[in-house]
Subunit: 304 residues, 2 copies
């Protein structure tokens, strides 16, 4: 992928040879790629996520953000398709084929990927379905589990070209709330104590209820036992990831796991899973998203 990448220096546009635009339009960010087939011609990013936009602002924001790239079809995924987004792209219920279901914005050359839902246990995703499609495009015979760590981590079971089931965890959001807004914030630094992380993962996995009891101990140990802020951060991170692994065990136990996410966070999940003897592969999140959007682009085909 990186061989075909280059930054947009203003001269990009229809003249660059791009023939479509890929968009990952999330809650807080908008990321755009001018694409030629499966290759990136230029990229842009802004903070104009869906949460700050009214339904009638999306078209203008998109036009401004893609200025100079020519009048090209746009294929998007993410919260732009939520009820509070541009249009409500209804959920497709699992099990589904990996290929994303797309819905066209009326009057626009814009297509948005539908999210996925699961009736029992109740769950939803928006955006990650496109990454799962990208993974299955690259590995159609993949039989295993995908882990997408983030604000709301997702675990998905993939088999025979289908997304069979999935489960979400609030780990990223809970970490941020505890580390920055709770009483723990006074003693939380950067998470870079591997031994503390490993120990907390193992504890939380083997005794989940004790991990809950141990949250306040991070505060107490920083007050009376000089627990270092970096160790406290690693313990908190390990505790929450260990908890998540305990809950997600039916997904990873006995399966190959592909982790799709930001490199540092993916590395922590891989470290925790490898402790449990699980075989993990790390996939590049951007490349996987673009592979999924490219698949959708091919599916839309001539209608665009």
């Amino acid at each position: 992928m990186s061989g075909t990448d280059r930054q947009d220096k203003g001269e990009a546009g229809g003249g660059t040879g791009a023939d479509w635009i890929a968009a990952d339009w999330g809650t807080t960010n908008l990321r755009l790629w001018a694409m030629r087939g499966g290759g990136v011609v230029a990229r842009r990013a802004s903070g104009r996520g869906m949460s700050g936009l009214a339904a009638d602002e999306f078209a203008t924001v998109l036009a401004e953000a893609t200025q100079g790239w020519g009048d090209l079809p746009v294929v998007a995924c993410g919260m732009v398709g939520a009820r509070q987004g541009w249009i409500d792209a209804p959920y497709a219920a699992v099990p589904v084929r990996g290929q994303p279901r797309m819905i066209r914005v009326p009057g626009q050359r814009v297509w948005i990927a539908c999210g996925l839902s699961q009736a029992s246990p109740p769950d939803v995703m928006r955006g990650e379905e496109t990454q799962l499609a990208g993974l299955l495009a690259a590995r159609p015979d993949f039989d295993g589990c995908a882990c997408l760590p983030g604000t709301h981590s997702k675990w998905a079971r993939l088999s025979a070209g289908e997304i069979c089931s999935f489960q979400s965890f609030m780990t990223g959001e809970i970490y941020a709330l505890l580390a920055r807004q709770s009483v723990l914030r006074h003693g939380i630094g950067e998470a870079r104590d591997d031994a503390a992380f490993d120990e907390a993962v193992a504890d939380a996995l083997s005794q989940p209820h004790r991990a809950y009891a141990r949250l306040f101990q991070l505060r107490a140990a920083s007050l009376i036992a000089d627990l270092a802020p970096d160790s406290a951060a690693s313990r908190l991170s390990g505790m929450l990831i260990g908890w998540e692994l305990a809950g997600a065990k039916p997904y990873w136990l006995g399966h190959e796991v592909v982790i799709i996410g930001a490199p540092a966070l993916s590395g922590l999940y891989a470290r925790a899973l490898r402790q449990q003897g699980v075989t993990c592969l790390l996939a590049d999140a951007e490349a996987t998203t673009l592979a999924g959007l490219h698949l959708a682009r091919l599916q839309i085909g001539e209608t665009a």
Copy 2:
């Protein structure tokens, strides 16, 4: 207690017959009682908690807040004795006698209760030690467990007039963060669905790792299964309290439990514990605090 209570209507003061002042000076609130022996003559409250005050402001705030009550000794508990408070009242390590350890503010007729610490597992409390003292003053032979639900719930093992061990849980703070600041906030109402609460407690107690996995399901179920906001709130509350009970099991299993806290919250803990066949008593939080401060006042005695 309530028989001797009356609101301060401005005429209270040395002339009311008060002979000391009780203070519960926490992080966000200051509560004051003009006392005659063990009885309340007048009460006041303000939002001038320790977190908004510099060390040199406490004396002025106290003088203003007790104006008209005469020049009386003040016996205080709570975060006023923290490192960031008026003076650092050092922790006393458990096991300790129930009687609170008091430290005098230099140059003032003010005494502050020392908090408690525990080396292993590391834990601290400030303020609750005074309530435990109050409980032991009323029931010197109590052999069981005290549960003090709140922002940071405390469980303490009491026996032979001593506080033997204790453990803290962040349940109240985590509930507030999840219900008001996380993605769950969109679907959380008032917790008043008893059946949903009971079910969530039982689930979390029997399968603590599943409770973590079920947090995001509250969001998903409100999106795709019309989960009512009041039921979602009760489920979240039950999930967290059930988790806490799972971690605190060595405290309550086979013991009598006295719950000291705000009535509504204490009622939820009692409901959850009684599901498990535990005998619970509810104690009035204010009365228990004042009993502990009165015990401290008697101990200080003539030096005041």
